[in-house]
């Protein structure tokens, strides 16, 4: 299997980042992003009534903002190459499609990181208004950064599927929104919002990016490798395979995975996909790609189950001390937690407290 060509990846990265930085729309993007972030944070009902110097009001909105913003950054990554007719020229250079896609995704990622860094001005506002927990803010930012990397990869995939950046944008938003809906259903951002950086979720992000960019690679190569009938078959096979993967991911995360039933279906789908999409001399590459993917998924699931989390909050709010853990280990009965909510709090904060009570009851012993 051909390795990554770092010189080519670096050159493509610089080109992609350069095209974003040279485009005046890029600065409008950063400006809008910062203004919207500060605007949402400082909505009086959600920020001042709570009387807490944190990024709480952004928790619900920020990921959905990224669903729209990242596709705007990534839409031209591949579609503009096809629009300009430079794709063919690019792929006669000594680089692989995966080198090119990786470089382009890294370019989008670098620009996204820059935009996120500019939004750190909200932390200045928090510091001015109160005494924020910087560890908690750090974990919030790590969560959003990961989401941005993921949606960036979804946007690069969308961009590789269609020849026009505008359509790639719409498709990128749809893809990212689907991922966001999945994340929402799984409470994916919850640990980050509680000041935790869970290794399992970082690995999950990496796995998802790996598969999204892999799908983009297949989509670009399918047009080159195949005759016109096969890309259609390929698209159907790829959608089937992705549907299967999505079902598996949901079942695994909900711990109701039915291995004996799903594994043979997956094997058949994967074999059919490989035969339809991949020329014979590349089947070994495809097998290596899938093998590495499965290993990464396994690592992600294991680290998630092992709960390898890093608590970044100043007072270790999301962790139990060693002594508490020792006490809990010795308990034989379910634990009853009693929480007191002050009546002096604003209505919204009281409602949040009620929500917390239900959460604790739902969690069980």
């Amino acid at each position: 299997m051909k390795g990554v060509n770092p010189a080519a990846v670096l050159a493509i990265w610089r080109r992609q980042l350069g095209s974003l930085l040279l485009n005046p729309l890029g600065y409008i993007f950063i400006g809008v992003f910062v203004v919207v972030t500060v605007g949402i944070l400082l909505i009086p009902e959600s920020f001042f009534y709570r009387n807490i110097a944190d990024l709480g009001p952004l928790y619900a909105y920020m990921p959905w903002l990224l669903v729209v913003l990242l596709p705007a950054l990534g839409m031209g990554a591949w579609a503009s190459e096809r629009e300009l007719g430079t794709e063919e020229q690019l792929l006669t250079l000594p680089l692989t499609v995966s080198d090119a896609l990786l470089g382009k995704w890294l370019g989008v990622t670098a620009y996204w990181t820059l935009a996120l860094a500019c939004s750190l001005s909200v932390v200045g506002v928090l510091a001015w208004l109160g005494e924020p927990d910087y560890g908690l803010i750090f974990s919030n930012y790590v969560g959003w950064w990961c989401a941005g990397l993921l949606f960036g990869a979804a946007s690069v995939l969308a961009s590789s599927l269609v020849g026009l950046p505008a359509i790639a944008f719409v498709l990128g938003v749809l893809l990212s929104a689907s991922l966001m809906a999945l994340a929402h259903a799984l409470d994916w951002f919850d640990p980050f919002n509680r000041g935790l950086i869970p290794l399992g979720r970082l690995v999950q992000t990496a796995v998802a990016i790996y598969f999204l960019l892999g799908a983009a690679m297949v989509s670009v190569n399918a047009r080159r490798w195949s005759t016109a009938t096969v890309p259609f078959l390929g698209v159907v096979m790829t959608l089937l395979l992705f549907g299967y993967c999505a079902v598996c991911v949901i079942l695994v995360l909900r711990e109701t995975y039915r291995g004996p039933l799903l594994a043979p279906i997956g094997f058949v789908l994967l074999a059919a996909w490989g035969l339809a999409m991949v020329p014979r001399h590349l089947l070994l590459h495809a097998a290596a790609f899938v093998g590495l993917g499965v290993t990464l998924v396994n690592f992600g699931v294991q680290s998630d189950r092992a709960a390898v989390d890093w608590d970044t909050t100043g007072e270790r709010l999301s962790s139990l001390s060693g002594a508490s853990l020792d006490v809990l280990k010795q308990l034989k009965r379910p634990v009853k937690i009693t929480a007191f909510i002050s009546k002096d709090l604003p209505a919204q904060a009281r409602a949040e407290g009620q929500g917390g009570r239900e959460h604790a009851e739902g969690a069980g012993p």
Binding site: G18, L84, E88, L93
Partner: protein, 247 residues
């Protein structure tokens, strides 16, 4: 996978066939281009010239047959072949937001040219392609002739052994055509191979020492321009072999 090319042929097409679905674009096209040769790939529009070139550069995979560049199979060993290949696509596509200087540096970086090697290469193509006037201008704002020369500079930057050019003089004015022709001839003199597609007969007379004539996806002639012209002349023979397919 690398193997010695017979007869010192730098470009080898072995029975190339390409189907798009049920549509046959080319069928069993086979030829060789030797060192030092400028070979014209002649044919009417839609004859399968671009498809053949795209297979030779490794951009498209053939439905059957093999394409070799300097002995490297472009389906299974494209990276090694592309190190030795310079390619100019149809209409010389470029990035309008770059300048010739930034574009060529970018291509140089992808081709792992750095430091003094890159500087040397840039200076060579800057003079050869006469790009001084537009070197730091936005590609969006330069003329078609200059764009074509930037595309050629890109193809020649790494001093490849093989040059594949898809309609390199299309859309240029007579003066620009002369400049581009001179560039290509100079290149071939360095014991390298050039394959250029065209549907213009004058192009063949002015540059090529060998002609491949393709029509309706099949190779109809493989020989020298003199052999093709015979006593009837190039134009009459072209019409005869392409059976009146619109040029």
């Amino acid at each position: 996978m690398s193997e010695a090319s017979p007869d010192d042929a730098l470009i080898v097409a072995e029975d190339l066939t390409k189907y798009y679905g049920t549509f046959m674009a080319i069928e069993e096209i086979g030829f060789k281009v030797k060192r030092g040769s400028i070979t014209a790939f002649l044919g009417p529009n839609g004859a399968g010239k671009s498809t053949t070139l795209k297979i030779l550069t490794g951009y498209l995979a053939p439905s059957a047959g093999r394409a070799l560049i300097a002995g490297h199979d472009m389906s299974s060993d494209r990276l090694a072949g592309s190190e030795l290949l310079g390619y100019l696509g149809e209409n010389g596509p470029l990035y309008p937001d770059m300048t010739p200087a930034t574009y060529l540096r970018y291509i140089g970086a992808v081709r792992k040219l750095g430091g003094s090697k890159l500087k040397e290469a840039l200076e060579r193509v800057l003079h050869a392609c006469q790009l001084e006037e537009v070197w730091n201008k936005s590609i969006r704002k330069i003329s078609k002739g200059f764009k074509q020369r930037v595309g050629l500079a890109q193809a020649m930057l790494h001093d490849p052994d093989v040059l594949v050019l898809d309609e390199p003089t299309a859309g240029l004015d007579p003066n620009q055509i002369l400049v581009v022709r001179a560039l290509i001839k100079d290149f071939a003199k360095k014991h390298k191979a050039v394959l250029l597609s065209t549907h213009i007969l004058q192009e063949v007379e002015a540059m090529a020492d060998h002609v491949l004539l393709v029509s309706e996806g099949r190779l109809k002639f493989d020989g020298t321009p003199q052999e093709l012209a015979g006593s009837a002349g190039l134009e009459a023979r072209f019409r005869e072999l392409t059976k009146g397919v619109a040029a």
